[in-house]
Symmetry: D2
């Protein structure tokens, strides 16, 4: 997986309110970036997170394993890159954040997601189809 | 209104992640404090914000007028005090934040809320009854 | 002031994590948008907020008066437009948020800021020069 | 480590603004809870995070591995419990979140932290002494 090229990427800029007293992006904020990138990836694949939720299909994070390699600071530009694969009923999102323009690796994350349909752990055919296009 | 005593108060402690690079609570976070205090006041008055929402009754902020008098820092304890009055279809929440234990005034806010029921600007009898108990 | 055209604008897209249980952007998040827009405006005018802070010059919000006209929802695109004028030692930022592409007015805000230099309420010549270019 | 009893715990209540459109606490917010709990634990052990930062000692998260077992909802009370051990230059914080009063396990996390002193990966004697009291 490590060497596979990414299937999606999204550029951001750090906003000052996302930084804490250390002058760097607070650890929890990277999860916001990763989530936004996943939801934009789903949109790109034809699926709207909120629309799915309203139809009873919840994509739920089961585990977040985030390595903090290098901190982003106020004003930094960065790109969040994403790969996805399916393992059983789990979707593994490999999400890495690189500072721009120097491509310094900042975050290396694996986010494990599952699907809950009408309250039950299930497989969503439309999510499968969307992910398999890219996985 | 200014001299009227408060009808509700809630104590908090600043969390480090709420502070920005200036080492003080970020301006937007005070709105979080004020909202949480209003929702706890409603609970105290017998109304649950989420439960009301699920029944189609949305309490909506129409205006927030917040004076920043003195900044709170990481670790500070403070109390959020509240008064409420009704003016036409509006609820005016007078919400002030004082640092503890020295009672230094930090925030002086007037939050104007209205009620939207099933998508229409309306009056909620249960919200009225709850607020009038205190107003 | 109302009829004057804006001097700066910045486009955003709502991120799902910025929405609350009502499915709309939480009230406090608009202050994040407004702050980011002001800081980007300052950059555009040649001033870096964090750099100024490190040199002892703090731009501080003294008052935020925000009218919530219409809520933004997950996925909405919007533009934050800004005007600024100086009144005595105060800077008044007139900041309005419009949903895109229909230009629906969502937020009408006046943010009052002052400058604190090395702990004392002061006037910053460089901030003045930057703002007067546009004001 | 799993069976060792916790050395610190802190009670919280979910605030409505921490919930997203799914009506549950947003995934990133748990990191806020975990961070606040660690900082309060450090205070309990005699160390102030902000004070250390000002003296050039930065406690930095190198990795966050968070298992989401069960979601917290608006209004839920919960307790964040903590253990810590030292492995080489790393501190491993074992942090679990249980809903109250039913003690349902919600979060199982391992947060790996290191110390950076004046910009260099180092060992802080005072942090060591504080942690070893409990580890």
């Amino acid at each position: 997986m490590e060497n596979k090229k990414y299937v999606y990427e999204l550029e951001f800029k750090v906003r000052d309110y996302e930084c804490d007293i250390q002058g760097v992006v607070n650890n929890s904020v990277y999860q916001n970036y990763l989530e936004h990138c996943r939801h934009e990836f789903l949109l790109h694949a034809g699926l709207d997170f909120t629309d799915m939720f309203k139809r009873g299909i919840m994509a739920v994070v089961a585990r977040a394993d985030i390595q903090y390699k290098f901190p982003l600071s106020g004003g930094d530009k960065f790109v969040c890159r994403l790969n996805v694969e399916k393992k059983g009923i789990k979707y593994l999102f490999y999400q890495d954040i690189y500072r721009l323009p120097d491509e310094k690796l900042c975050i290396k994350a694996i986010i494990t997601a599952v699907t809950v349909i009408n309250g039950k752990l299930s497989v969503s055919d439309e999510l499968d189809a969307a992910v398999l296009k890219f996985g």
